[in-house]
Amino acid sequence: MWRWTMVCVLGCSGVIADPPVDPPDDPPLPSGEVLTPNGITRLSALEYDRSVAILIGDDARAARALLPEDARTPFDNDYETQDPSQALVEGEELLAVEAAERLLEDTPRRDEVVGCTPTGVDDATCMRSFARRLVRNAFRREATDEDVAFLVDGEGPELGQWPGAMRMAATFDDFYEGVSGIVQVVLMDPEFLYRVEVGTPDPDTANVYRLNDYEIATRLAFFLWGAIPDEALLDRAQAGGLQDPEARATEAMRMLDQPLARERFVLFHAMWLGYEKLLAGDELGTAMRAETRMLMEQVLFEEAGPWQDLFTYDRTHVNALLAENYGLPVPAGEEGGWVAYDMDERRGLFSHGSFLAHGARNGDTSPVFRGLAVQTRAFCRTIPPPPPGVNTDEGPQSEALCKPERYSAHSGGRCADCHQHIDGVGFGLENFDATGAFRTHESDNPETEGDESTCAIDGEGYLQDVGSFRGPAGLAALGLESGALRHCFVNHVHRLVVGRGDVRRVDAEAIVQLEARLPEGEFTLSDVVRAVVTSEGFGLRREDL
């Protein structure tokens, strides 16, 4: 099968683009819309934690410690990386056992989840109503009578058979032991742990299935919340109508108002742009997390303004520690506040310490690693790995003291093929150290003999074939003007929705179509969400054969 990574063999062609669009493997829908295949996706650890919170109000967030670490490609929901294993199944079992224990220990929450007061250990009516509701909420579909009978009455009393909640309650002489049994079974059930999509065969197109309302609601929830639907969304699915793209859009707008949506898109940008794991948990790192989160919330939700403002915003939310680090006026109060930038080079997300941590290495910032991060992460450029003869752990080997001279070795010969796309980007950010503080001279590396702090930084950078710039603001402006940021954002929205890191030829075409559905020029997060959920394909599934 055609793979995105194969584009590497093309080398540094200088083209900002997805793979060449040849006739797709999967034929388009009769409408002309491209539909990409997807496979059954397991809840990531983060999704599991949020889902258990929605389902039974459990905020323990225990999955990170007990489930195998999710790969990041760059998102955590790539079904092609998910192989069931002993470690997975045992982790899921322990998570279920302990979630049930916590539920039984928390009487008010337990009573709310159960939803009725049992008349005694043998109150099958109460058990059935609880089972019916839990199945619906956990499996994102109507509970059938068979589901309820299975969970409550079981298969039989023999070893190797599920005895059912009533027998379990009787064994322990405790109604809530039966409740615990049902909770554990449901939390370990693949219908909870995986996003099961079945649908009904589409008469017009082979391997294509029409999703039902519950399945569409579940897609909405994982896209916008990274979690299962809540009861209100399931009620909406039950009422029907989510087959209608406009109804989906209406529902999606309601969902964007929920706190989970904010968390979702804060994390989306962190995974996409690669700073999720760069940030430390110390005070400065915490302040940077808060700074970036506040920008996301302000632009995408409070103002609901153009998404592009993330990269052009002329104020930033800092506390005293971070303000001092940046050399900005210190806002009053412990929580910090919004402060206007003091120079034209600083604007938006690229000015944040969270993003500028890219390329911190060898006691300094590396223009190469920063340039690579920007090009590959933010602009979706494919840069092949260095050829034999390059030690990527060190900067260029040179006697020169200052970086421009040291890196000049990259400007000639075969190195230039790729480095013309890399180094110029990094040098345009050199006035900002790995925490985002402004500097006029390079930082002295104590491990070298010379004093690099005598090297003045000129701060001029360039994006090959696009233009020159100074600082994060200039870089963002070029990224926006060239369309690279917009295109790369759409690329990643698509990958998040499909749950696959590997961009196939058919994905590339779908990404082009999705981008064409956005308003020209600026667009809001709502515009993007609307474009995704109103597509015909959002209500369809193509089997990944």
């Binding site: 410690a65 007990l66 195998p68 670490e69 790969a71 079904y79 990386t81 998910q82 192989d83 069931p84 002993q86 470690a87 997975l88 199944v89 045992e90 079992e93 322990l94 299975f150 969970l151 190797g160 058979q161 599920w162 379990m168 064994t171 322990f172 049994g181 079974v185 370990m188 059930d189 693949p190 219908e191 995986y194 099961v196 079945v198 794991k277 760069l278 940030l279 430390a280 110390d282 790192g285 680090n325 941590a357 911190a360 290495r361 006691g363 790995p385 260095p386 034999p388 003869g389 390059v390 030690n391 990527t392 752990d393 150290d433 790995a434 925490t435 930082s443 491990e447 089997e543 054969l545």
Partner: protein
């Protein structure tokens, strides 16, 4: 809680007394005896090279003297009776351990990679060659797939409750590698499926989960017995329900989704089977360890300061891996003692490990960078930290008596492999580099199959998979691994 006869504890006072969680404290039990002890195989792996760029020509895991009575360089301190630089007493196992040096993984350009060889790129390109003996280019799946040695051994050494254990000490990736290929998870244990595809087997990183998997099915002999039996039955009942529901889901799915959930069902069946087979604690040293309790919390990545320097003082990129590793090693020993498993894949650290060396061994660096910017002593200490887990296991096996009076080490072989060595780096086209698969070293211990400990064998560019093949041969399997054949004769 009493499980039987007398209480005793093993391996106490081995440098762990100050840690917050108890090392496994053991409670002896009685049970049925078995004769004819099975062979066991343990494969450990360290994601670090055995040299630093700052010390050209020094292979830190190569003793100067060959043969018996080899000297112990700083990186091998845990094998001796001295104390490591960070104050941990050695395990005094040198007589049981042979060092094999001069190992080389060959390399070649894509399309011309020699048997068992690698591409020119270094990181993420050396483990599979050593554990499977197969060549591999930059992209997994670019060549024929094969199971790793621990999986081969698990399949061959006979059925047990667990079958195979896959553990990892490093609790999280923390940060991605410098070559941006850090999205993957570097599974050590690989299984070649019937259709030829390769399954990466997740490792358990939680000591608490490992303990529960191994020992929670053991039922005490005292007044807690009835309740414990009821709870065990409850677990099995719930798994029966999940199995039934999973089975009934599968036919509703599309073909490719069916394969995924079928694999999930097989794992559920295996878990159910493990609970059904959970033996009573046996005679001899098979005892239920004390529950290790809650896992230490998983930390964030590094604390980057201005200018890109990193402050290693806070516990970043560090989730108490020393404690986690020691606990897991002790559980491996007891799993082998109780014959719950006969083969183990044990990854100590991820390739290019960014574990906090300040926290581990008092060197203000991350482990990976000790191989580039660190002194020979810095890097030796990072290596010794890895070696200490190997030494702890060897000591524990040696000191554990089987039911027939033999030592567990008489029936076991343990191998420790490393990500890289010292020499030519075809990626950087430089010599004397840590990014090299020349001058690699491996450690091997065990007395099974005629293996001899206490020797240093300097090979002339033998493939490290031959050390693994030697271990496989010692436990009664073929003396080959993947494309690499022949054991290291000096080990026998």
């Amino acid at each position: 809680m009493a499980y039987g006869l007398t209480r005793r504890s093993l391996l106490r006072g081995l440098g762990t007394a100050a840690l917050a969680l108890p090392v496994l404290e053991l409670t002896r039990s009685k049970g049925s005896a078995a004769n004819g002890r099975p062979n066991r195989f343990v494969l450990l792996y360290a994601g670090i090279s055995t040299s630093t760029d700052r010390a050209p020509g020094q292979v830190l895991l190569r003793p100067e003297r060959t043969g018996t009575g080899y000297d112990l360089p700083r990186a091998l301190t845990p094998l001796g009776s001295g104390t490591t630089a960070w104050g941990q007493p050695g395990y005094d196992v040198q007589d049981e351990v042979s060092v094999v040096s001069g190992l080389t993984i060959p390399w070649g350009a894509d399309g011309a990679i020699p048997p068992g060889g690698k591409s020119v790129h270094f990181h993420y390109n050396t483990a599979e060659q050593q554990t499977t003996g197969m060549r591999r280019g930059d992209n997994r799946g670019s060549g024929p797939a094969a199971s790793s040695a621990d999986v081969i051994a698990a399949d061959a050494l006979g059925e047990t409750t667990q079958g195979h254990l896959s553990y990892r000490v490093q609790a999280a990736r923390y940060i991605s590698g410098s070559n941006s290929s850090g999205g993957g998870l570097d599974a050590l244990s690989l299984r070649r499926r019937a259709d030829g595809s390769l399954q990466s087997i997740d490792a358990t990183t939680s000591p608490r989960l490992a303990y529960r998997s191994l020992f929670s099915g053991f039922v005490p002999m005292d007044e807690g017995r009835e309740e414990a039996l009821r709870r065990l039955r409850q677990r099995r009942d719930i798994l029966a329900a999940v199995r039934s529901r999973t089975s009934s889901l599968i036919p509703r799915l599309g073909m490719s989704d069916q394969r995924r959930i079928q694999q999930h069902l097989e794992e559920l069946n295996r878990l159910e089977g493990r609970l059904a087979m959970m033996p009573e604690p046996g005679m001899g040293a098979c005892v239920v360890p004390t529950d290790p309790g809650e896992d230490p919390p998983i930390a964030d990545g590094h604390n980057t300061l201005e200018n890109g320097n990193v402050d290693y003082t806070p516990s970043r990129a560090w989730s108490e891996e020393t404690l986690r590793g020691e606990t897991m090693i002790d559980m491996v020993r007891m799993a082998l003692t109780c014959d719950l498993a006969r083969s183990v894949g044990f990854r100590i650290s991820l390739d290019q490990t960014f574990l906090n060396a300040q926290q581990a061994v008092g060197v203000a660096n991350d482990m990976h960078n000790t191989t580039h910017s660190g002194t020979a002593d810095d890097c030796s200490d990072a290596l010794a930290w890895h070696v200490s887990f190997f030494a702890r296991l060897v000591a524990g096996l040696r000191d554990t008596e089987e039911v027939d009076g033999s030592s567990l080490l008489d029936h076991t072989t343990v191998v420790l492999l490393f990500e890289g060595g010292h020499g030519h780096d075809p990626e950087g086209v430089q010599d004397n580099r840590a990014h090299s698969t020349e001058n690699m070293s491996a450690l091997i211990a065990g007395r099974v199959g005629g293996l001899q400990g206490g020797r240093h064998i300097a090979t002339d560019r033998a493939h490290p998979a031959r050390v693994v093949a030697s271990a496989l041969s010692a436990v009664g399997l073929e003396d080959s691994l993947g494309e690499i054949s022949g054991r290291i004769d000096g080990l026998f």
